[in-house]
Subunit: 737 residues, 2 copies
C-alpha cells in the first residue's frame, strides 16, 4: 500500500522518495534546484496563510465569486500543496491541518443536499455545478494520497465512507448526464472518480472512471444549461478514454481553440499522471499515438513570440503558456514523455514548476543546463476527432531570425465558442499583431464589464466575419452567423506543401459559408535568399453562381503611416451597416480606386508593416474603426482597412504582406523604412486555374499557379499567358523568373 | 604636452593611462570590466565597418538625410572611437586611419565655400548649418587629441593651419551671430572652439570659447531661420560660461523640457569634461552651485518608471535615459562629480558606457557591486535662468512601493516648443500613463509622416490646452495659443510643502492665461497608513471678473471600464468645436449631471485607475476621442473625459485620482478592483478660502483648507463651517477627522 501512495504523489516521508530527494539535495549542499526551491517557498507562504485562517468549511450557498464558493475553491487548491509540503519537509503540522479539514468535510458533507442554485443541469453539492465538485475531488485525491500514510485504518474508513466515496458516487451514479457525457467538464468528473479510486484502491470506481457508467440510456435531445447537447451524435462510449478519443484531433488540436484547450487539458494531465504510475499497463501516454503529448505541443505551437495563445474563437488575449495549466502540462509531459529538452526552455520562461517529482525533475534538469531552445515550426493541425474537419495551419519561416507567423484557419466551427471566420488568418511578428484577430469581447472576471462574462458585443461583433481577416459576401457573416449551420460543415484542406526551402504553401476551400459560392484561399510564405524578409503571398479566389458585393478586411489595428491611394476622411464618421458586425464600425475615410497596386504601411509596436494588393477600377478602400453602437464602451477602437468590390460573380484578390524594419524612439532611427517595392498581379484567372505574380523592385518576380479543381499530385496542367505556357504537375507551381 | 593630451582623452599608449588600464585589466585576468569590454567590442565593430569603406570625404552638398551629410556625420561620430581604440589597444591601424581622414579633410576644407543650401541663417561649410559643423569639430577635437602623440610637429601644423583653426575661426569670427548667441546650438559652437583650443594649446581660442567674441554688436531684432531672436533681451555676455548662466534654471531645469534638454546637454558635458582636467582652476563642475550635476539629476528625475522622459512641451514619447546623450552625462557626472553610487544603477540600465576613463570607471565600479538604487523623489524644479519663471513640480510617494507620480507644470512657456498647458499635470504609475500629456504630433525621422518633422496637428492639437489635463475657458487655449503672449509670463508658484510624512502639497497660480481670470491649482499627494494606495487630491479654483464656460479634461487615453453617470453614446460622433484643438475631437458620449460625486474607472496596461470628482447640477461630462479633422491619420485615437461647466464667474473643482490594483490575463484574477469609495466635497469656497474634504468609505475624512490670497507662513486664518471653525496658520492646513 505504501508503494501505491508513494507513486501517487511522488514524495513520501520516511525512507521514501521525499527523503530520497532531501538526501539528494543534501549532496548539493542542502539545497533543492533553484526553481523547485522557489516553488516550495511560494507554497509555504500560501499554505501558511490558509492555516492561519483556521478550518473553513462553510455550508454551500454562493455562486462563483461568492464566499462559500471561493473558500471551498481555495481549500481544494491549497490542500494538496500542504500535503506535499508535509512529505517534503516532514513537518507534521501540514498533515495535521489537511486531516482536520478532511474531517470537517466528512462531518458536513453527508448533511448537504444539492446546492441551492438551480442554474446548472447538473447541480453539485459543494458548488453550484458538478464541474466544481469534480475539481474539488481531483485535488482532494492528491491531498488524501499525500497524508494517507499518517492516517489510521479507522480514520481512512471514516473519510472514505463519509466523504470521498459518496462524493464520487454523487458525481457518477447520481449524475449520469454529467458523468457519461463527452464534454470537457465531464472529463473532470471522470478524473475525479478515477483519482480517488486509485487512492482507495477501488477498481470498480476506477473502471467507472475509465469506461463510464454501464447500461445508461442516451439522453436524446436533452441539453445542458448553456444549450449544449448532452449526447454527441453516434456516441456509444463514455468515460475518460472516450473523452480522449473525442476531445482532440489526431494532431492534438482542440476544436474550441487553445484558450479553452488550456483549461480542458488539466484533468487529462492530472489523471494521466497517476494512471501512468498506477496502471502502467494502460500505456496512457502512448494512447492514440501519444495524443496527450501531441496536445501539449499543439498548445505550445499555438502561441506568439511571448507565449500568448493565438486568440482563436472566443479567447481573451494575453492568456499564455505561463498559466498554471501549462506549467502542469509541460512538467508532466517533460518528465513522463521522454524528457524533450526543448520543454525545459518553456519551463524556464514559466519560472515555476509543479510541487511534485515532475516539477523536481524539470528544475533539476534546468539547473543542470540541459535546456534546448524551443523553436516553433510550421505545422498543420487537423480538427475533429477523426482529423477530417478542416484544420488550423501555422506558417513560420525556416529562418528563426524572422519571427513572422501566419495563423490560417479553415477548421470546424468550434462549437458554441466558435467564430465565423472561415479562411481567415492572423499575422504575427514575434508578439506583435501585424493583422489581428479581434479575440473575444470579454474581460474575464472583471466585474465592471458585464460581471466579467461574455458581453453582448461578443456575439454582435467579435464572432462576426467582419471582425476577422476573411472575405465577406453581401455584408453577411459566414453561415449567416448561425452556429448550428456553421457546425454542419468544416473548412476543407485543399493542398499544402511545407517541404520547400524557399516557400511554404497552404490552400483551403470553404464551399458552405455562402450557398452556391466557393471560396478558396492560398497562403504562401516566401523566404528567398534575395529577400530581406519573408513575404506572405495571399491569393483569395471566390466564385459564385450569382454576383455578390465583396468585402475583405485587413485588421491592422494601429497607426496608419502611409497609403498610396487618395482617401478622403469624413468630417464625421459614418456607420458602415446595420447588422453582422457592420453596425459596430465607423467609416473614417474612403477612397475610390483605379486599377493598379494598392499599398499601405502601418506601424505597430515600433515595427513597420506593409500590405500590397492589386485592385480594379470601381473597387474602393475604406479606412474603418471599431466602436459604433457600443453604448458601454465595450469595444476597442481598433482600425482596419476594408477592401470592397462591387457585386461580382467571381474574383481573385492577390495580396502580399510583410514586416520590414523597426524604429527606436531612443536613437530615433528607423531601420529599413522603405524596402524594395512589391507588385502583385493576376496573370490568369478562371474556374480551372489561378496564376499570379509577385515582383520585387530590382529583384526577382515570382509566379504562382494554382489548379483550382484538381489537387492531385499526379495531374499535369498548363496555362497560356502572353505567348508563354506555364506547365506543371500537381496542385500548384511556384517559381522565380 | 604629452600630459595635456593624456588628460584630454584619458587614455594614452606608451607608459600612460591606456597601458595602465591594460595592466590593471591584466591583474583581473586580462579582462576589462564587463560593460567596458562590451563597449570596446561594440565600437571595434563599428569602426571596422567604417575603415573597410575607405576614406570618404565628399564635397558638401546635401541636407540631413542626404549622402554628404550622413557621411560626414558618421565620420565625426566614429573617428573619436577609432582614436580611443588606438589608445586602448595600441593598434596603429586605428591611428593611421584617423590621420588619413584628417589629411583628406585638410586637403579639401580650404577649397569649400559655404554649403550650397541657403536655408540656415548661419550656413556651415561641411554641413548646411554651423550647428553641424560645430558637432563635427567637437568630435574631431577628441579624435585629434587621441592621435596627437603619433603625429609629427609638421603634420600637426598642417592639420591645424589647414583644417582645425580655419574651422574654429569660421564658427566664431566669421559667424558671430551664431557664436555669440545664447542658444543651445551656439553652445556647440563654443564647445567646438574650446575643445580644439585645448588640444592646440591656444589660449586665445579658448578665451573666445569661454567668454565669446569681444566687441561684437548686438543683433537687434534679427532672427534665425526658425524665427527665433538672435539676442536675448538684456544679453551682455556670450560664450560657454554665459550659456551655462542662461541655459538652465538654478535647479538644472531646461525650459523646453527634458526631451530637448537631453540634446542640449551634450556640448556642456563634453567641453566640461576636458575643462575639468585642463583648466581645473575654472572649477567648471562647481560652477553655479554645481549646475551641470544638477542638470543631469534633473533629467534623470524627469523620467517615468522605464526611464522615459516626461513628454513636456514638444517631445516624442519613448525618448529616455537610455539615449547616447544620457549615457555620456551619467558617466561623466559619476566619475567627475563625486561618484554618486545611485548613478551606477542608471548606468546598469543603460547597458553601455563611454569609451573613455569615465566609462571605464563606471564599468569598474559596477563590476565591484557598488551600485545603489536610484529612488526618485519629489522635487520642484524652478524654471528660468534666475529660477523666477515658474516651476515644474514632481510629486512622488515617500513609500517607493507606490510608483505613482504627478508631474505638475506651472513653468515658463518653453519658447517655440512650448505647449499651452499652464497648471496641467500628467499622472504616471510606473511607466503607465494614468493621465497622459499627449506629447508632440511628430514621428521623428519617420519620413512617411511629414518627412519626420513636426506635423501641422502639432500646432492645431498637441500644443493646445485641450490636449492637456488643465482648465480651458471659452473653448480657447491659454494665451489664445500664442507663443509670444505665453512667453511674457510664467506660472506662479504659490506655496508648497514636501516635508510632511503623510502628504506633499504644491499650489500654483496662473493669472495671465486669460485676462482678468485667476486660476489656482493645488495638488496634494496623500499617503496615509490607513490607505492602501496614495491618492492625488486635485483642487482647481478659477475666479474671473465675468462668467466663462469651463472645460476640464482628464486624458485617461485607454479603456473606460465603468462610470457612475448615465451617459448616452451618439449614433455618429459629433465634432466638439472648430478651433483651439476642439476641431480634432469627437464627442462619443455625453451625460447631463446631477449634483454629487462623479466616479469613473479606467484600465491602462492592465492596471485600474479611478477619478472621483464632485459636480453640480447643470454640469456635463463628455466622453471624447481625438481624431477629427485629421485627414492623414496623424493623431492617435486616444480617449479623454471632459468635465464641462456652464458659464460661471468662479468655481472650485475638487477631484481625487488613484491607481488601485491590476489584472493578470494569465491568472485572470483582478487584484483590488473595488477599493473603498472616495467622496470629495467643497465645504467652503470664496475669494479668500477654499476648504474641501476627501472621505474614504469606512475610513477617515481629510479636510484641506487653502488660503487663496495670502501664502505667508505666519498669517493665521479661520473659516466657519456648519458650526465648526477651522483655524490654521500658513497657506494651508490638511488634517484627518
Amino acid at each position: 500500500m505504501r508503494n501505491r501512495i508513494v507513486i501517487l504523489i511522488w514524495f513520501m516521508v520516511g525512507g521514501s522518495q521525499g527523503l530520497a530527494l532531501q538526501a539528494q539535495a543534501n549532496l548539493r549542499g542542502g539545497v533543492w534546484p533553484p526553481l523547485f526551491q522557489q516553488t516550495v517557498n511560494h507554497w509555504k507562504g500560501e499554505v501558511q496563510g490558509l492555516m492561519e485562517e483556521g478550518i473553513l468549511v462553510p455550508t454551500p450557498k454562493d455562486m462563483a465569486g461568492g464566499y462559500s464558493h471561493e473558500v471551498h475553491k481555495r481549500n481544494f487548491f491549497l490542500l494538496p500543496k500542504a500535503a506535499a509540503l508535509y512529505q517534503l519537509t516532514g513537518e507534521e503540522k501540514y498533515a495535521a491541518y489537511v486531516k482536520e479539514v478532511f474531517f470537517a468535510y466528512a462531518k458536513a458533507y453527508p448533511g448537504w443536499g444539492k446546492h441551492p442554485s438551480t442554474r446548472s443541469y447538473a447541480r453539485g453539492k459543494i458548488f453550484w455545478q458538478c464541474l466544481n465538485d469534480a475539481n474539488w475531488l481531483v485535488y482532494m485525491s492528491q491531498a488524501y494520497a499525500g497524508i494517507y500514510d499518517m492516517l489510521s485504518a479507522k480514520e481512512r474508513e471514516t473519510l472514505e465512507t463519509q466523504l470521498f466515496r459518496p462524493c464520487a458516487d454523487y458525481l457518477s451514479l447520481e449524475n449520469p448526464r454529467f458523468f457519461n457525457r463527452i464534454h470537457n467538464h465531464s472529463t473532470w468528473g471522470n478524473a475525479a472518480v478515477g483519482m480517488i479510486a486509485l487512492v482507495m484502491q477501488d477498481d470498480v470506481l476506477l473502471n467507472r472512471a475509465l469506461y463510464g457508467l454501464e447500461g445508461q440510456p442516451t439522453f436524446g435531445e436533452a441539453t445542458d444549461n448553456d444549450g449544449g447537447r448532452i449526447n454527441i451524435p453516434g456516441q456509444n462510449k463514455a468515460g475518460f478514454l472516450a473523452q480522449l478519443d473525442h476531445a482532440f484531433s489526431p494532431d492534438g488540436y482542440y476544436t474550441e481553440g487553445p484558450y479553452y484547450q488550456r483549461y480542458a487539458m488539466s484533468p487529462f494531465i492530472m489523471f494521466a499522471q497517476v494512471l501512468h504510475q498506477q496502471r502502467p499497463e494502460l500505456g496512457i501516454f502512448a494512447y492514440r499515438d501519444s495524443l496527450l503529448k501531441k496536445a501539449v505541443f499543439a498548445l505550445l505551437q499555438q502561441t506568439d513570440g511571448a507565449g500568448a495563445f493565438f486568440p482563436i474563437n472566443d479567447a481573451q488575449k494575453g492568456m499564455s503558456y505561463l498559466s498554471r495549466e501549462l506549467i502542469q502540462a509541460v512538467d508532466v509531459v517533460y518528465a513522463l514523455c521522454g524528457k524533450d529538452a526543448r520543454l525545459l526552455s518553456v519551463a524556464e520562461d514559466q519560472g515555476r514548476v509543479l510541487l511534485d517529482k515532475t516539477g523536481y525533475t524539470v528544475a533539476e534538469d534546468l539547473a543542470a543546463g540541459e535546456a534546448k531552445p524551443f523553436h516553433k515550426w510550421s505545422q498543420i493541425f487537423t480538427d475533429g476527432a477523426n482529423g477530417d474537419e478542416g484544420a488550423l495551419a501555422i506558417l513560420r519561416p525556416r529562418n528563426p531570425a524572422f519571427p513572422i507567423t501566419a495563423v490560417f484557419k479553415y477548421a470546424a466551427q468550434g462549437m458554441g465558442h466558435g467564430h465565423f471566420d472561415r479562411l481567415s488568418y492572423a499575422l504575427y511578428e514575434g508578439s506583435t499583431e501585424a493583422l489581428q484577430d479581434y479575440g473575444s469581447a470579454r474581460w474575464v472576471n472583471i466585474d465592471q464589464k458585464g460581471g466579467g462574462g461574455y458581453l453582448k458585443e461578443n456575439k454582435t461583433w467579435a464572432k462576426q466575419s467582419l471582425a476577422h481577416n476573411t472575405l465577406i459576401l453581401d455584408q453577411t457573416s459566414h453561415f449567416q452567423g448561425k452556429t448550428q449551420k456553421g457546425s454542419e460543415w468544416a473548412g476543407e484542406p485543399y493542398f499544402s506543401d511545407l517541404s520547400r526551402p524557399d516557400a511554404q504553401v497552404v490552400s483551403a476551400k470553404e464551399t458552405h459559408a455562402y450557398p452556391g459560392v466557393t471560396m478558396q484561399r492560398t497562403l504562401c510564405l516566401l523566404e528567398d535568399s534575395v529577400l530581406d524578409e519573408p513575404i506572405l503571398l495571399d491569393v483569395f479566389r471566390v466564385a459564385g453562381e450569382t454576383a455578390h458585393p465583396l468585402d475583405l478586411p485587413f485588421h491592422f489595428q494601429t497607426q496608419l503611416l502611409a497609403a498610396n491611394f487618395e482617401y478622403k476622411t469624413f468630417s464625421s464618421p459614418l456607420v458602415l451597416g446595420s447588422s453582422h458586425g457592420y453596425q459596430h464600425v465607423w467609416k473614417e475615410a474612403a477612397a475610390s480606386l483605379e486599377e493598379g497596386p494598392l499599398r499601405m504601411t502601418w506601424f505597430s509596436d515600433l515595427k513597420f508593416f506593409e500590405l500590397t494588393t492589386h485592385m480594379e477600377a470601381g473597387d474602393s478602400a475604406l479606412l474603418c474603426r471599431v466602436g459604433a453602437a457600443d453604448p458601454e464602451f465595450n469595444l476597442r477602437r481598433d482600425a482596419f482597412l476594408l477592401l470592397r468590390k462591387p457585386a461580382v460573380k467571381d474574383a481573385l484578390i492577390v495580396s502580399a504582406v510583410r514586416a520590414h524594419g523597426n524604429y527606436s524612439p531612443v536613437s530615433e532611427i528607423p531601420r529599413r523604412p522603405y524596402p524594395p517595392k512589391l507588385t502583385v498581379q493576376t496573370l490568369h484567372s478562371d474556374a480551372a486555374y489561378s496564376v499570379v505574380s509577385l515582383s520585387i523592385a530590382e529583384g526577382p518576380t515570382w509566379i504562382m499557379g494554382i489548379s483550382n479543381q484538381d489537387s492531385s499530385a499526379e495531374q499535369r496542367h498548363s496555362v497560356d499567358w502572353q505567348g508563354k505556357t506555364f506547365t506543371w504537375q500537381g496542385p500548384f507551381f511556384l517559381s522565380k523568373i
